[in-house]
Symmetry: C2
Subunit: 234 residues, 2 copies
DNA sequence: GAGATTTTTTAGTCTTATCTAAAATCCATG
DNA sequence: CATGGATTTTAGATAAGACTAAAAAATCTC
């Protein structure tokens, strides 16, 4: 325990609402660069007007840059704060599964609240007990304590072409029911999959999962991220 | 896992502020019957005006009975809600010590926030992992899941007369520094103690703790509750 | 029992976060 | 490049919970 000598730790905590906004912006901006009001509103189940209000406040606090009518981006300070919340969330999810018998589909809701209440000390203890893991139960990377973040983006299962093969790496965790169904299908991180065929017009995919052929709707397949096997990656 | 058949559970949760007020009222009323505005204000570090406001709101929600200028008492619904929070708090404290390496003096602050964020499911899982304990790390009883509450009041160490002997059963947990010092003195639950003498005018006590004589200020001694040994209890 | 003091309540303000309805702006299309 | 539709922002309201300052009630003191 040498760490007691370290800096007294910022521990600056934002409100619950601010933390959830920052987290959402962080995840969304990873895909699209800047984040629209409507996207944020949908993700957080708020009205667009509420989002505009909060975004203005975040901008005043220096956590985001806001170009009216265009969108927001996190500043450096905003990203730091967002990664801190994401780290908490993912460590807590893994802890609940490993040490408290939680199931895959139930941890998200619990972590969504605990992430705002846990101190830095608690989070680091949890990380230590888990052996400082780098991947959460749904396959998402866990940012480091200083916000180290491993960039990686896998294509969605729904984007693959017939014949393509890969390994499931990450699954969206927001909806318990869908998550339970994905588990039934065998679609969770580290499962090898091969796309056998796909119906036109956003129709279902035929996917080979552990020797069995499964039909997967395209909305569901969009929740599943796959690392393509070697040279197949086009 | 038969419990899935049980009732869907009320899980009705109040706000963080409401929960903290109910908890404080519950603890205070155990000593004095009804609770004054000023006592509540001091305990919660709020102004008396804020307390009056909240008390009015609690009364409207049917959680307390309020006689203006006299004080509040919990209703049955209020007591149920309060015991639920106290249960959470104490289970969480014990869990943090047993499973996450927390020290005696640090758990209270952490539990003070987590008690509002943890779901009933999480709390019951924690209780199960701990083997459904009935006493928290500071010696306070843990209410049951349905609010079962074991009445017990021990005299404070500061009230004992020279010559009286007993066993420490409970220690007030609010202040980390004092708590650390009490641990140094050896004054924690299950330690046998004998009062050797006491100075007048709220002066310090001379107390025999595990063969050593210690000087304990009366304010500190008031934090320690002692079960008197057999027929000595006068 | 009349002041003086303490305690509690009232009145009014502030902050955070949300909403609905209306206005402003952007963008696609003809 | 005008206009209709979608998106975003503004305006105004509400709720929770906190505060300060002032008024009211209870209590203490002589
Ligand atoms: Mn999650
Ligand atoms: Mn959250
Ligand atoms: Mn405590
Ligand atoms: Mn609390």
């Amino acid at each position: 325990m040498v760490s007691e000598i370290e800096r007294p730790a910022p521990e600056q905590s934002h409100t619950r609402a601010v933390e959830d906004y920052l987290k959402a912006i962080c995840v969304l901006q990873r895909e699209t660069g800047s984040v629209q009001t409507s996207a944020l509103a949908q993700r957080l189940s708020r009205t667009p007007a509420s989002v505009t209000n909060m975004v203005k406040s975040l901008a005043e606090q220096g956590l985001v840059e806001h170009v009216p009518y265009y969108g927001v981006r996190l500043t450096l300070a905003g990203e730091r704060a967002a990664l801190r919340v994401i780290r908490r969330h993912r460590l807590i999810e893994l802890y609940l599964i490993r040490h408290l018998g939680y199931s895959w589909d139930r941890v998200h809701a619990e972590a969504e609240r605990l992430e705002h209440a846990a101190s830095d000390e608690l989070v680091e203890r949890i990380s230590a007990v888990l052996g400082h893991p780098e991947i959460d139960p749904h396959g998402s990377p866990i940012p480091g304590p200083e916000g180290e973040w491993q960039e990686r983006t896998y294509p969605a299962l729904s984007e693959l072409m017939p014949g393509q093969t890969g390994v499931v790496r990450e699954v969206s965790d927001a909806d318990p029911e869908r998550l339970r169904y994905l588990a039934d299908l065998g679609l969770y991180p580290s499962t090898p999959v091969t796309v056998l065929g796909r119906a036109p017009f956003e129709g279902p995919l035929r996917v080979l999962v552990r020797g069995e052929e499964k039909l997967v709707g395209s909305a569901l397949a969009a929740m599943v991220r796959v690392e393509l096997t070697h040279e197949q990656a086009r």
